[in-house]
């Protein structure tokens, strides 16, 4: 396939001494500048793309990048967008995403992106420029204590003082970011260190004292779990992002099929098992399906896999799955029995644990339970009232699902459209729904979609965003145009901050305090066109499919679809705040 993304200077002639390989290869014993060591170390980690934005303290590093075309650098418009793009790249590819930003404001602009990745356990490397070491702590120009600012939202962080340490630090950072429970790792790079010459040292064998994530589950515990599964009468799997992003979707599907036990997933777990799998009950939680929430409430065995009992999933804790024995398989010991007490914990990588469990399980006789679930599924499907005169938001998502055969990478923003996507897009593959589940970051969607499309040019990438959230990072349209990134953006334009409006309608007597957007929204078509993107406005249901078809044909850049949808549609079913899952309400009446 054609590589649409190029990273050469606009006019290659401007580049002095540009050779094919960039810098001459440094013999091992020769000194290099910190900037060179950094870029070499990134390449040695297998990095092909970084997202970045330059600044004063990064001049040395950008000079190295100038000479290294083999490292693709995507110039983003805002460091928040760059961090989300690196996050989207990571979720879509499974590799760590890398973002490079300058000191002070450049660094603080990444904070929301780092927190988003931290909450969803996404491997990120954040490279921040820093003022020269001697000036640190003096309130120097563009100085921020970014290590201090990000301490609670990074898995680890480094301040590199000695240029000879830089190679090892980069290597360790990638190791820490991508293993165990993955997460963001920040490396702070003082300007003088980057300019100094030193040796590029790498560790032959990665060993970090004090960091030994458990991979294999305890066998005795796995036997206990298998025994509980074999004896269960009403078991259900509760699957989270750990399976999706731990690359264990095949292993899970095998276990589900061998045991014939139904499965529900969290938002982050969607795609881990095919949506149309007969044993799949759909999503559970606040906007989960009736069958999933009742199954979890009624089951006698809950098998949690790579999930963390988030409050959006459990509803009122003392009403959560009270009749069940609980198995919890997770890489993170700290997430076990944090919110809900578990009977059989298994600490380990789901990818290692699941096959061992599959070997030991049999098919428990649960036909009565399966029948009950089928009847729930049939009696309480997800639904909405279709209209001929107005586009229903759910309809747009159904059609996107159909036209992509449930095969696209779908990146959402946060709000109603996110929940409708979870409900109505039929995910067929893992790593396909990219969404800010833990932090719920508006503004995540579009830049993350850009990152995902950069990382996976082989897959179709759709971004589904609200008219509110898209405006938080809409400037990245320029990035998508510049690098010809074929993201298809569907704005579900309901003229409101819809999710908040829904709560105002249901719980605050329709007092729509500061959630109306129509009087301040831009003309999204003109906005897109001003960046050089193709754009459509869609106002009638019958235009939805033809427009999507047109959009599918556009391959050399982004396309923006402004779907004008029903203003006051609501996400149902729903578990109101403070209610238990079995107290869910199915619709407005």
């Amino acid at each position: 396939m054609e590589r649409a993304i190029v990273n050469k200077a606009e006019n290659p002639d401007e580049k002095p001494n540009s050779t094919e390989t960039g810098f001459p290869v440094q013999p091992e014993n020769e000194k290099m500048s910190g900037g060179e060591i950094l870029i070499c170390a990134l390449l040695d980690e297998g990095v092909d793309t970084i997202f970045g934005f330059p600044g004063g303290v990064l001049l040395h590093i950008y000079d190295v990048i100038y000479h290294k075309p083999e490292l693709r650098h995507i110039l983003i418009k805002h460091e928040q967008g760059g961090t989300h793009a690196a996050d989207g790249y990571a979720r879509a590819t499974g590799k760590a995403g890398v973002v490079l930003v300058t000191s002070g404001p450049g660094a603080t602009n990444t904070v929301t992106g780092i927190a988003t990745a931290f909450m969803d356990s996404i491997p990120l490397i954040i490279l921040t420029g820093q003022v020269p070491f001697a000036m640190m702590g003096n309130d120097a120009f563009q100085e921020a204590d970014i290590i201090g600012v990000t301490r609670p939202i990074t898995k680890h962080s480094y301040l590199v003082r000695d240029v000879n340490e830089l190679g090892r630090v980069v290597q360790e950072a990638f190791h820490i970011a991508t293993t165990g429970k993955p997460g963001p790792v920040l490396i702070d790079l003082p300007k003088d260190m980057v300019a100094q010459k030193g040796y590029y040292n790498r560790l032959k064998k990665m060993k970090i004292r004090g960091y030994n994530p458990v991979k294999n589950g305890h066998f005795h515990q796995i036997v206990k779990a298998a025994d509980a599964i074999n004896k269960a009468k009403k078991p259900v799997f509760y699957v989270g992002g750990g399976v999706n992003f731990g690359n264990a979707s095949a292993e899970l599907t095998e276990l589900v099929e061998k045991s014939n036990i139904p499965v529900t997933t969290t938002l982050m777990g969607l795609g881990a098992v095919r949506s149309d799998h007969p044993l799949n009950l759909g999503m559970l939680g606040m906007h989960g399906t009736w069958a999933a929430n009742m199954a979890v409430s009624e089951c006698d065995l809950l098998i949690a896999v790579g999930s963390r009992f988030d409050d959006r999933v459990t509803g009122r804790l003392n009403g959560f799955s009270v009749k069940s024995k609980k198995i919890h398989i997770d890489i993170d010991p700290a997430s076990i029995s944090k919110n809900v007490t578990v009977d059989i914990p298994i600490v380990g990588d789901v990818k290692n644990v699941l096959p061992k469990l599959t070997e030991l399980v049999e098919r428990p006789d649960i036909s009565a339970w399966l029948q009950k679930l089928d009847s729930w599924k049939e009696a309480h499907p997800l639904k909405y009232a279709h209209r001929d005169d107005t586009i229903m938001p759910q309809y747009v998502i159904e059609k996107i699902s159909e036209i992509t055969n449930g095969d696209a990478i779908v990146v959402t923003d946060v709000g109603q459209h996110q929940m409708w996507t979870a409900q109505f897009y039929k995910f067929n593959r893992p790593r396909s729904l990219l969404s800010s589940g833990g932090l719920g970051t508006m503004g995540y969607g579009f830049p993350a979609a850009v990152g995902a499309a950069v990382g996976r040019p082989d897959r179709k990438v759709f971004c589904i965003a609200g008219d509110g959230g898209f405006q938080m990072t809409s400037m990245e349209l320029a990035t998508a145009v510049k690098y010809k990134i074929p993201v298809k953006l569907a704005i579900i334009n309901n003229s409101f901050l819809g999710m908040v409006r829904q709560w105002q309608q249901l719980f605050f007597d329709k007092r729509y305090s500061h959630t109306y957007l129509k009087d301040s929204n831009p003309d999204f078509v003109k906005l897109a066109e001003s960046y050089g993107a193709t754009a459509f406005r869609i106002q009638r249901p019958r235009e939805v499919v033809p427009t999507l078809q047109k959009a599918m044909e556009i391959k050399n850049g982004p396309v923006v679809m402004d779907f004008i949808v029903a203003k006051e549609a609501n996400v149902f079913p729903m578990v109101p705040a403070g209610a238990a899952l079995y107290e869910m309400i199915e619709d407005e009446n």
Binding site: R151, R209, S337
Partner: protein
């Protein structure tokens, strides 16, 4: 209930801040914290005392264990362990009450390490309870200042069995 937790880690200010941040960020209690170098170069040992129910203490130890530079976390509470705290206590002491104070000092096996016409400074080691008890005995004389280290603790090796 009160727990005494011993933490061994690779010494750096970043690690120290991460430990402190864990407690403030997650709303855990710290009653006392003390820190010094451990037996190997570059390693530090911290003893902290905290309170909470079983689930909270479990979270504290698990979250501490998750920090990259932490090498070992031991909750000593349910094991035999030895614990000591050092306190310096400056008490007002006019000549008329000096003898009385010195009696208390000897009961607690403490030492007087500084003296002035109006005050005595007492050095005391012992469990936190002993330190608290001696402070309350000295209170009536007027305590000018105290400095306490917080508990340091190690597991007791010889447990009378085996």
């Amino acid at each position: 209930m009160k727990h005494t937790i011993s933490v061994t880690f690779e010494h750096s200010f970043n690690t120290l801040s991460r430990i402190a941040g864990l407690f403030s960020g997650r709303g855990f209690n710290i009653d006392s914290i003390s820190l010094g170098t451990a037996e190997k170069e570059g390693l530090a040992r911290m003893t902290l005392t905290t309170r909470g129910d079983e689930r909270i203490i479990e979270q504290i130890t698990k979250q501490l264990n998750k920090l990259i530079n932490i090498i070992k976390v031991v909750d000593l509470t349910f094991e035999p362990f030895v614990e000591r705290e050092l306190a310096l206590i400056k008490v007002s002491a006019s000549p008329s009450v000096r003898m009385e104070i010195m009696q208390i000092v000897s009961i607690f096996r403490a030492k007087i390490i500084d003296i002035s016409p109006k005050s005595l400074t007492i050095e005391l080691t012992g469990s936190a309870d002993k330190v608290n008890a001696s402070i309350s005995m000295l209170k009536p004389f007027g305590i000018i200042e105290t400095a306490r280290t917080g508990s340091v603790a190690l597991r007791r090796e010889f447990q009378g069995k085996t």
